[in-house]
Symmetry: D3
Subunit: 327 residues, 6 copies
């Protein structure tokens, strides 16, 4: 067997590649160190034990190898413990980058990253206000790389590599639809607000592969950090205009509205927004965010669920998967 998906029962022998999703160093009662790993390929995951005899004498090297997000070549044997399939490592080494295609090991969006980036950049070009365009485009340019790989959440929805970009583009599509339906809507804020609303998730999470909340994520949160990114751009632009330069009244209003779209996008104070929506666009962005995240949670939650039944999908509650067949 060289594909994790083939492992289904005890006493199978495995030789193949796997992505380190998590690695925790622990100790036996005797004080011997060992690793609890989770090794993954696509959606398949399996726990792996690495006992001390594979660690002894090369502690640092092993620690380096077994970091979240690394791919290793692994030999091991399966067993079951408390009805759970697991593997015990017999040998392992770091995999060279040319040995594998990372894309095989990671869950990714249903559309290519490049196409999504291109589509998003197309929307950015539709921003008509020059100051807004400069702010949004500049932030996007600075963070384009992590923005294209980070997930949109650690759980629940869009929790995969590229999830943040995909979620943002899906929201932009709905945003364009809604703006078209209601002429009173100012597309600049729809595009700018959606693009930036979760942008600082690249700082809120620790990594794009095994994301957890970072220290600034816990202390400050993406809502405040995204708004702060706007402020930094404004300070930079003003500095470029010369000492004591100030925004015009309309520019100032536009910046406030953009920050407001970001700060209010959770919709309610008890959901973590320090201010609640006070513009048409802020209301719309909040509701579009709810549509796209719920659709994604539903699709992921019902994936593989039985037809004609209700499945619990956190945090949505029970969801029904309709029957597909003939009567």
């Amino acid at each position: 067997m060289d594909d994790l998906a083939q492992l289904t029962e005890a006493n199978q022998q495995f030789r193949g590649y796997g992505l380190v999703r998590s690695a925790r160093l622990a100790q036996t009662k005797k004080g011997d160190p060992f690793y609890n790993l989770t090794i993954a390929r696509g959606k398949t995951e399996i726990p792996v034990k690495v006992w001390s005899d594979h660690i002894h004498g090369r502690e640092d090297e092993v620690k380096q190898m077994l970091q979240e997000g690394k791919v290793i070549f692994l030999e091991g044997d399966t067993s079951t413990y408390q009805d759970q399939l697991q593997m015990t490592a017999r040998a392992f080494r770091a995999a060279e980058e040319d040995e594998y295609d990372i894309a095989e090991f990671l869950e990714t969006p249903p559309e290519p990253i490049e196409a999504l980036q291109e589509e998003l950049e197309g929307y950015l070009q539709q921003i008509t206000d020059p100051l807004l365009a400069e702010i949004v485009t500049s932030i996007y340019a600075k963070y384009k790389k992590p923005f294209s790989t980070y997930p949109a959440a650690t759980n629940n929805h869009h929790s995969f590599v590229g999830g943040l970009l995909y979620h943002t583009v899906c929201m932009l599509r709905l945003g364009m639809d809604v703006s078209t339906r209601y002429p009173a809507v100012n597309k600049d804020f729809i595009i700018g607000g959606i693009t930036l609303h979760d942008a600082s998730k690249v700082m809120e999470y620790t990594s794009h592969i095994a994301p957890a909340y970072s220290v600034p994520g816990e202390f400050i949160g993406h809502i405040s950090m995204s708004s702060m990114l706007v402020d930094r751009e404004v300070q930079r632009i003003l500095a470029g205009r010369g000492e004591n330069a100030k925004l015009t009244k309309l520019e100032q209003e536009a910046v406030y509205q953009l920050q407001h779209c970001i700060l209010s996008h959770h919709g309610r104070m008890e959901w973590g927004s320090p201010v609640e929506p006070k513009t048409l666009e802020a209301h719309i962005i909040h509701l579009i965010d709810m549509i796209d995240s719920r659709v994604n949670m539903a699709e992921r939650g019902l994936d593989g669920a039985p037809e004609g039944e209700f499945t619990k999908v956190f945090p949505l509650g029970k969801l029904y998967k309709p029957m597909s067949g003939d009567d």
Copy 2:
């Protein structure tokens, strides 16, 4: 003056037409009857007193004439009472239908009723499931007339003649947009659910001109009544199929899902839905309902509001109207 909008101060004389928006019979301390009317034309409204000498001896005729929704020809004099402009009637009579154009007296949707009906009927034709199509189309056909004149709410949003139809069509447009974006969405339920979600508001309110909650509106509510309309259609169709006919399993599932979209469209139990959304389509309908009603509340609430300021718009809270001019 023959237009209510011309009345701006005391001691003006009026001769012209007005719509009776409300009429309450009261008594002076001496026991003499008099009427407190509200007379309207478009968005202009003025309170009118009709003292007992205009009522005496023709009580029934006057009562008939002064019903909500009737148009009268009225002569009167303005005065101010506690800084409020009002009128005292000198003479009045019922207006003949050919004397006036009702459309001048009522607020209406920004698009023609016929066009909205046609558009809605076009969506109904896109329902692919024959049973769902029959249920939805039949209910629409039965209630088409009031459905096209009733408001979607007594206050806040779409509270005008035709508001229910307009709100429904606006939601259908968004529903088609969203369905197009997410292929997993079943358009049949989007179209059917949106069309029927508020349909029984034609029973929940007392009239389309001066709507108040009716007795079944208070006791049962539009959420339950709309679902009941579906049940009646199902019973009718089954009766047509012969004694003891039953729905197929897939038909039954479709009916349950349709009723569920209706029953859950307020989104949460504490907002009046006896069940919370458990299908993808039910979630989407709820959120689209929030978008369209909030956009309408915002537009109506900011209509005439000062630019560059925050205005209280119930129940949304404060809303900002952006500045339009040059800096």
Copy 3:
């Protein structure tokens, strides 16, 4: 041993009857099918494993035999697994209906079903309004059989065969008491409302023996379905009166009030009622429902609990069982 209650430790041999309370087909890691059963007699329950050698070659027959609610004759041996007593089947067959008395296998109300039915029917005869009497009596007649066997809840209170009937009669008794105390109360609605308030639980649950939420139970709920049953009766009665027949104003008011008693009986929107009580009778029915269900929860929760201590009884919280003895 031929009584499940006698099984207390490992290595006992059993030959006797048992009710299948639940049966789930599973697979060993090797792919062999086996059944996880729960076998019950009265309040005693024991898990039973049926391995594949007892299934192989007669899959359909076994599936038929091991359905929830069936009684089987079973031979097996006890063992303990993780401190839990269980049995492994050695042989089993379907029991013939004349071999056993189902009443020995099911928990039932403390009063005979027939007496409860009779008592309930006696109350129905006290309804004075002819239309209400016809509606309520007709629904009861149609559903009398499941109404007399279904539980009133899947857990917590009256969750036994006949629980729905018993809960309804207990509420009717309190309803008669309260009506007698307050002459302003209209007994028709007390009797009709209580009789129907949970009536559609016969549709909300999947079976009376091992009840779970059915598809319409999840999508529509018993509150809406019970109200719909009233609507169907009204439609049927109107159809019998001839084309375009309509209810009189008083009849219509009575029907709305009856439906309102049903729809509002959870007392608050956040507890699942789409409308909150707006009549004296609706308020009383809601509170009587709370009394009878809490009393039942308390009695069941404290059954077997230690005296002089507090026991957790979901969802009531802690409950105290007083000391009985001498000091």
Copy 4:
């Protein structure tokens, strides 16, 4: 005119008796003192102005005369101010106790106070536990007089002279009914708990005629004070048993349960109970309290309300008064 109910318009002359419901001493802008009175007879109330010329030189005497709850003989003239009928005093004097029958001036329960007392005392005799009987009877005996005249609430329900006694007896009736239905219920706690649950409202309100919250009512509240009354009886009884006497274990349990029934009778912490119900009897007392108070609120709120309509009854919300007539 000598009956307040006859006053309906301006310029009537009154000579007759009235109960002072409230009296507030105020000052004109010039600094002259005057009184704003409310004078009542049964349910009729009218505001009365007493200008300074009727006060000057006999300030103390007037203050004594115009206290809440006193009856005065009054001459005055009616006028209307802002559509509101009022009276200006021409002369007034204290009424002697033999001049009038206080019962004509106060709203009272629908049953005679003596009969209610007798009924309550009959229930007390049914308490079987001697300690409980002594505690409850002793408290009742001490406070019998105010207990029989105070209201059960300052507003909403049973807010009339004798309301507390009437509410308590009505609850006891329901309590006996419920206890009869469920044999597990211990009648001692039902009787004792209901009798005492609101007993300290005689301290929580300032008076039985024009009740407001007293200082201990605000600071401590009737829930805690009623429980404290029980504690004082226990201390008194123990003192009578000799130094260092202690309750037996069963006595102690009974006292705790009685106090618990009192402390938990609001049912939830957020409704003001420091502990939530943890005995069967505590749950029942809370729900019976809700039934009797809601029935009373409904009856008072719908008294005089129009038939066939919904009336707002604080704090119940809208209530419907059914049509009585023929169709």
Copy 5:
């Protein structure tokens, strides 16, 4: 009369100075412009009408003169309208700065501004971490002037000139006390967090004299803006360190903690904090804020209230003012 406090009844003539607290330009029904002013001195306020004949021909000059915060010299006559004392202007002019002492017209803290500033600056010098010290000191220095004049709230607590400074110093005193009691507390964050927690209220309100919420106050709020001020300082300091300079790990941690103390100081998400306290110091700052604001609300709310009674003090609810005298 030349002091507003002397005006107590109609027909008094006034010649003296007053502070313009609010000025709204309105129109009579005829279309003539007039001003509704509120003129104040200390805590005394009186409404003043300025009719069009005093405006005509010098509109701009008058507009300039009647701005919030200006002091004018005014002649006028009092009258009463609906029991409310008001004044009609006969003449008015701008007051020269040397004609009056502004301190007489404004409510101020009970301690001198300079002493409060000095005390605060003393605390700042106790910050031991050099980066934190630089950030906090620099922000304080930049905003020292408005920081010393703005209120801490538009209503309720510390709503007077200098209220923000006074509230901040009072909190710092408590902060020093608490830090002394618990050695685990890091004083740097207590001092820095308290100093900055409300600092951007100088942007959240429109002015220090007649404060209302500004546009950024509504859109962004002081919680986010205060955190942003910290970010700007960090950016400035990094820029000074050279291109691509980064904070050390400990510096970064300190900045995050400081921002966290600011962002979390409302204590709960539903009270407007986007993150809830996650450090010891953040918890303490939140609770100290509650103590100082409640004490101030209580003192202001009970100022002038009757002794031995309960007074409603928004938003605290009822508060009791103890009796002071002898028994």
Copy 6:
């Protein structure tokens, strides 16, 4: 091994002392009795099995020996069960009081009990009102012993021997600080209210060593019981003053305020206070209680937690432990 802290793996032999923290008598499936003990020394705890052969024939003696809070001398062998270290008793006997120092077995406050008592008594002497001083001092004197040993909570904060005293003194220190800052605060209520606010926890918990909620703790709660202690003192003092003695008005006000400080100290009804704070001192005591309990929860929760990370500390949520080292 003679110290529980030395036990780290299976097959160790122990001979030493241990405190019985909990002891539950159970039965094997065969019906043999055995004990599940928890034995502790300081913060170390280990589960111990005592099988029936060590119980048989000396049931009463063993029961006596194995009570919570007793110290025993124990011999046993360790083993692991489900990764959990446990011990099986080989022999055990009661330890004589002179064999051990109880202080070694119990967690205690960081300051000596005697010093805390002395400090508290010093505060009591600062109460100026003689009646208040007598009430508070008398209650303290009566309960001084348990007051000095009980914990302040069963979990979370100050849950150790002497925790109640320590928590009270810590609050008194803050109370003195706050009173000094705000002269309007009446120190008598701060000292008296804090001293008594949790005093009846000595009744609410079953013991100071292995505290659980007692029957009166569940039924009445410490909030009501502490207020009742005040009432008992008042009754005692009045009795001493002679028959029918009454408090003066100022005395009465003081007693109500003291009880109010106790009853309202949870701050909100939903947190268990039957009345919410209505005096300045009541507000302050509630907030000081929150500060001291949160600080203690944080310190205990972060004790031993990793630096530079967030740790879940119930019920505070996540807490960050700062890094201590160099960068």
